[in-house]
Amino acid sequence: MTKTTAAGKTRRQIYEDRLRRRSMLIAGGSTLAVFLAVVILVPMAPGWDRVKASFFNWEVFAKTFPKLLEAFKLDVAIFLWSAPAIVILGLLVALARDTRNPALFPLRILGAAYTDIFRGVPVVLTVYLIGFGIPGLGLPRPWNSPYIWGSLALILTYSAYVAEIFRSGIESVHASQRAAAASLGLSDADSMRFVILPQAIRRVIPAQMNMFIALQKDVALLSFIGPVEIFRQAGVFKSLLANFTPYVGAAVIFLAVTIPATRYADYLLAKQNRERS
């Protein structure tokens, strides 16, 4: 017979309830203490007034924020047309590197060279080279647009990373799946398309999401070659008002996008780990 108390709980439940209450109390208390210390101590630090005026000026923030938000639309647009191109190019490069057809061997070499080069060079350097360099060849309008070449620089860089992630996904599908597909008389191409790729892509979605979160941030690099997107707009305000608050405003806007996206990617990864265990 189980011994239950008047409340209908077992001894174990009562004990665990008590533990839970105690740890919540401790966590709440220590968080409050740290928070209070920061709020009280930081403004007491020498020079805090100058920091506050330069970085956290509410007036400047309120005045510049709508314009920054407006400029951020350009970042979003560049992201939106670059991302699909990156998925397609990344997948093609991954498949090229995986091909076993000897006639396509040059494609394998090219794929390997491509991923080595674009993963090895700082993004900002690629943006300068392609974004400044190619329009500098004297192309006629509209082909000298920094939007085209800047986006291309991002596409080329990110496709190299995305291709490697796809490739790791393809390699993570167990050889027995290929054997099963082959034993049914499926061609290599069909086996890749219907058996391997669908499993591979599903597995790497969280990793790819992290790449695209990074891409969203790196769109700001295009500010160096012309487009007045959020980072450049913030720079204009900084010079105009001699204040760094617009940069903080821009950071807030980036965080508003990247934090939920990162949390979602983490959630997907956790879900996948649960399903596979």
Binding site: S183, L184, L186, P198, Q199
Partner: protein, 243 residues
């Protein structure tokens, strides 16, 4: 002429000789069981017949035609030889019905609508009618393995190879898979099994082949091999396997 003939088949992985001059004949409609300890070369031999592995030397004939010819396109051959694996190897992202229909759709260019009736009949025959639209992870091991058999049968193969298909199953699920094999044998399918199910081999096989270290040590009717084994290695193996 035998359905399948192996002549001095040799398969090496590096320095390791896995099949060391194997001769074997499988007649049309016959069930041949390969028995022997793990590592004796049973699974590798089946993979060689299905051209999943290439052989170093010897010949494999299907209806008298050399399918081990270097450079031969393996895909048309594999369509004639179905294979079922120990670990089922169903495609986890597809329902049971999609698993079964994929190869006929792609290889024979049949539509889903055209395939559905014949597929349904296969599922019904193997007691899986209500499992067609389930995903592999919603099925028991025995059900998954039966779906894998249906998937191979949907290509209408002339020969079926079974690679220890009950070894990964809980003991109480083995029976339902063996029943499927009996059903297939009664329908006249030519079958080669690598198996540890000695009772089943004795009862259902037409021929039993004992392999050790990549060689056929002894072969013959099940009654002969199980009841009056001639070779000391066979006797030792059976003494352990049947205890």
């Amino acid at each position: 002429m035998a359905k399948i003939t192996l002549k001095a088949v040799e398969k090496r992985f590096g320095d390791n000789t896995v099949c060391d001059g194997i001769d074997l004949e499988v007649e049309e409609g016959e069930m041949v069981c390969l028995i022997g300890a793990s590592g004796a070369g049973k699974s590798t031999l089946l993979r060689c017949i299905n051209l999943l592995e290439t052989i170093e030397d010897g010949e494999i004939l299907l209806d008298g035609e050399d399918i081990s010819l270097p450079g031969l396109d393996p895909q048309p051959v594999r369509r004639r030889i179905g294979m079922v694996f120990q670990s089922y190897n169903l495609f986890p992202h597809m329902t049971a019905a999609e698993n079964v229909m994929l190869a006929p759709r792609r290889v024979y260019k049949k539509s889903r609508a055209a395939l559905r009736p014949e597929i349904t009949e296969l599922f019904e025959r193997f007691g899986l009618a209500d499992r067609m639209d389930h995903y592999p992870d919603q099925l028991s091991g025995g059900q998954q393995q039966r779906v894998a058999i249906v998937r191979a049968l949907a290509m209408k193969p002339e020969v079926m190879l079974f690679d220890e298909i009950t070894s990964a199953l809980d003991p109480q699920l083995v029976g339902e898979v063996l029943d499927v094999l009996r059903l297939l044998k009664d329908s006249g399918m030519t079958m080669v099994l690598a198996t540890h199910e000695m009772g089943f081999a004795r009862e259902a096989a037409d021929k039993v082949c004992f392999l050790k270290d990549g060689k056929v040590v002894e072969e013959g009717a099940p009654s002969a091999v199980f009841d009056t084994p001639q070779h000391p290695d066979t006797q030792a193996f059976l003494a352990r396997a049947l205890k």
